[in-house]
Symmetry: C2
Subunit: 233 residues, 2 copies
């Protein structure tokens, strides 16, 4: 009796990962429209702004419910609220930062992050010389205190900004402390239980996408050095 239709549960069983990342883009774009005092938008407009077809926008949203008005479109404020609720940023998530090096400090300083529903409430590092220091109002703690900190602040998400050499171990400690969502900035593949959600940002990989595009696509100005042979034929 709870099987066949169950219209009310946005169970998200079968929501493809790509849909979720587009959802974030819709949200970002809708918030921009709101700032520009736009009241109503449409799948066509949203699609044009983001480079998607109108059909895709409607299909994506249809995964989660009926948010539009036929003949009218979508009210920005309503859709923002709906998408935030779907994504789960209708409330703020406390986050712990692991690794307070170059990047970690930048993330700590990055206020305007809490606007988007995330708030760094604690920071840990493995370098004892940093313990007790305060950065942007957050005291740097030994990594061993992770379980306590997680309990204390009801943390559910972590950001790893540790060096590659430490990242796997740090990730395991994070999971051991009861956290199931990790944003990983270290350039390695984390091996963790499947129930842990991991997002990854690798600067080198992003740049490599550009390098590939430069060397393989676009020969409008033929400035590129001449093609080498493949290694073996």
């Amino acid at each position: 009796m709870s099987k066949s239709k169950d219209k009310n549960k946005p169970t998200a069983d079968a929501v493809p990962k790509a849909v979720v990342s587009r959802l974030s883009l819709y949200l970002r774009e809708l918030q921009r429209l709101q700032r520009d005092a736009v009241v109503t938008t449409s799948s066509t407009q949203l699609g044009q702004l983001l480079g998607f077809t109108d059909a895709q926008v409607r299909k994506d949203l249809a995964h989660f419910g009926h948010f539009g008005y036929p003949g009218v479109g979508y009210r920005c404020s309503e859709l923002v609220a709906a998408v935030k609720q779907i994504i789960g940023t209708d409330h703020t998530w406390p986050v712990v930062l692991a690794g307070v090096g170059n990047l970690g400090r930048a993330l700590l300083g990055h206020r305007g992050f809490s606007h988007q529903g995330f708030d760094i409430v604690a920071a840990v590092d493995s370098d004892p010389s940093k313990f007790g220091k305060t950065l942007d109002g957050i005291e740097i703690q030994p990594i061993a205190r992770l379980p306590e900190l997680v309990m204390q602040h009801d943390v559910r998400l972590a950001i790893i900004a540790a060096p590659a050499s430490a990242a796997q171990e740090v990730a395991e400690r994070i999971v051991a402390a009861g956290i199931y969502g990790i944003l990983n900035f270290a350039p390695i593949t984390l091996h963790l239980p499947p129930e842990v959600a991991v997002s990854s940002v690798d600067l080198a990989i992003e740049m490599e996408q550009l390098s590939f595009a430069m060397t393989n696509l676009r020969p409008p100005s033929e400035l590129l050095p001449e093609e080498e042979e493949p290694l073996r034929e």
Copy 2:
């Protein structure tokens, strides 16, 4: 006569974007294997390390040539060299950084980036109080000097670490200076000519993927607050 087979040109016409990003993951993993003194690997091993099927690994590589030995596998060093050449990181790319705030400074300090084939050779900002200051050996220049700097260092890639409010204009100046590849850290959609390659990293969006996973997937421990109704039925 150049149409049908043309085995030698890895033209990359039809290389899906997803293949290119997996290529970077293969490279990263192969380099790690090399560091661990592994000489030979296989599509099965590579796949297991990264969570792909063996068929996918082989198919991805087959887009670009024949790099393996039937019955043997792939020699790590050879495959590393081949993949670097495909990606275009068999040489170093000079990069200009636009925006020297929190994040920009972290990127400047991020040595070990040049190891991967990218070298920040210049930095610009729009804040005059920063002009002339030197950070990690790079002098911060007015954004107006972009065209000169690009010429001077033969720059082909740019990183935007400017605030959202400035990013579109900065991007346009970068393109006007003759750059066709941009890594954008600002949380906006850049509107640029289609021949410009853009990669984007939006911290909030990455975190939102985790937030979605936390609120919609995985109810192993039923700690999550009870489900709200969708906005309208």
